[in-house]
């Protein structure tokens, strides 16, 4: 198999990598670019731990081929904080204890940011439906939902 040459933008930076034709974008991000924040939970689009934003749309990077990213813009969990300064969502997740083992957390943060970018004032039902594609086996979800609601309120001030 010959490798495919990909030029993309990741978190605002131009990147290039060589990938196998059947390699997922998740594997390209983790193994070619060293961006290991996105996690593989299921590898089949059920758990959302690998969530990234591709050309403005929230997607599971395990269900995208690395080759498909050519010419496209990707935002990952690594782009959320501004240097040492946490994004408000990250800070609120800490304050609300909205994580335990942490495997699902990057996906939840990326998904929650995509929601708040689209709708700065979601109600609880909208948050729960939006995040239904992200599975967490530790928290029972409630603290995550509270953290997102609290972040939204703070960011609207």
């Amino acid at each position: 198999m010959s490798k495919i040459h990909v030029n993309a933008t990741v978190n605002g930076d131009a990147v290039e990598y060589l990938c196998e034709p059947d390699e997922s974008l998740l594997d390209s991000l983790r193994d070619r670019l060293g961006l290991t924040g996105s996690k593989e939970g299921c590898g089949t689009g059920d758990c959302g731990a690998c969530s990234v934003v591709l050309d403005g749309r929230l997607v599971c990077s395990c269900l995208v081929l690395g080759a498909e990213a050519d010419g496209r813009a990707i935002e990952t969990i690594e782009g959320l904080a501004d240097g040492d300064e946490l994004h408000p969502l990250q800070q609120k997740f800490l304050e609300h204890a909205a994580l335990q083992c942490g495997i699902c957390t990057p996906g939840f943060l990326v998904a929650a940011k995509a929601l708040l970018d689209k709708n700065p004032d979601p109600d609880e039902t909208e948050i729960r439906y939006w995040l239904a594609g992200n599975l967490c086996r530790c928290t029972g979800y409630d603290k995550i939902v509270r953290a997102v609601m609290d972040t939204a309120e703070e960011m609207r001030r």
Binding site: R57, Y129, G133
Partner: protein, 287 residues
């Protein structure tokens, strides 16, 4: 395996026709990549159609809507005219999977995956949707109810691709609806799915109706008798009972972990009434 992302339908069709091994079309990838991951599909060639700009748009003109084969579910909900003309089709597509899946999965892919339980297909059948199929010999039109031939199989020949799904323009006083039964509220596979489209005159009398059923037979079904039972009525109880009876009569479901044969048939009747009533209320501007 080779990966190609052609810029035109012609290139895509030529590449598929020239491939001696197994080729698969990649639109949203939410079925294909899972099949590859689990070893159910091992294609020699993948043709990604998302670089064909013509296929990534929803177009609307006097004759109706043309939904490109690479249009994802989220795009349907964002298209105000489509969502208002065909709310049942749009709700059926948006029921599929999570936000992440909606950002990738396409209605055309849902049709081509040829599952008996595909959510969008009964709604598309009720809507009298037509798929435009391109091959090396040109294009042909296939009514959605004729597209799936058996579980996982469709009328697509080697080297053919669906380029768009086409929905007719809507007259006044017309609407549609889709509902499915699942044992939870989100992200599950339909045990039964029903789509209904109705047109009425200004007095509320139904002038045309179509009923599509999913997950109760080897393929999604158009139930002509169920639609006929509604025509000429103002959706009284008798019409609803006849519609339900026709829907139940058309069922030939399997027993599986999601539901028994008897349960599926009963739910098909109950949903046919409920969805017909919803489509009718929408057509009357009551919802």
């Amino acid at each position: 395996m080779r990966y190609l992302a052609p810029a035109s339908v012609g290139e895509a069709v030529s590449a598929l026709a020239a491939e001696p091994g197994l080729s698969r079309i990649l639109a949203g990838g939410t079925d294909l990549l899972v099949q590859m991951k689990t070893g159910l599909a091992e294609p020699d060639l993948i043709v990604d159609i998302k670089k064909i700009s013509d296929l990534t748009e929803i177009r609307c003109d006097g004759s109706g809507f043309r939904i490109g084969a690479a249009v994802c579910g989220a795009q349907l909900a964002e298209h105000g005219e489509l969502a208002s003309a065909w709310p049942g089709v749009v709700e059926s597509v948006n029921l599929i999977g999570s936000t992440q899946i909606q950002g990738r999965a396409t209605p055309a892919g849902n049709l081509c995956n040829a599952s008996p339980a595909a959510d969008s297909v009964p709604a598309l059948i009720a809507a009298a949707a037509v798929a435009t199929v391109a091959g090396t010999g040109g294009t042909r039109e296939v009514a959605v109810e004729d597209f799936v031939t058996s579980p996982g199989r469709s009328v697509l020949e080697n080297g053919e691709i669906v380029v768009s799904l086409n929905l007719p323009a809507r007259p006044e006083n017309a609407s549609d609806a889709y509902e499915r039964f699942i044992p939870r509220t989100e992200m599950d596979i339909a045990v039964v799915g029903v789509g209904v489209s109705v047109e009425t005159d200004s007095d509320g009398r139904i002038t045309a109706a179509r009923v599509g059923l999913g997950a109760v037979a080897p393929t999604p079904l158009l139930v002509e008798d169920a639609g006929r039972a509604l025509v000429g009525t103002k959706l009284d109880d008798e019409a609803l009972e006849k519609c339900a009876a026709a829907a139940m009569e058309a069922c030939s479901p399997i027993n599986d972990k999601r539901g028994t044969i008897d349960f599926r048939i009963k739910v098909a009747g109950a949903l046919a009434k409920r969805v017909a009533a919803r489509a009718y209320r929408r057509a009357r501007g009551e919802q």
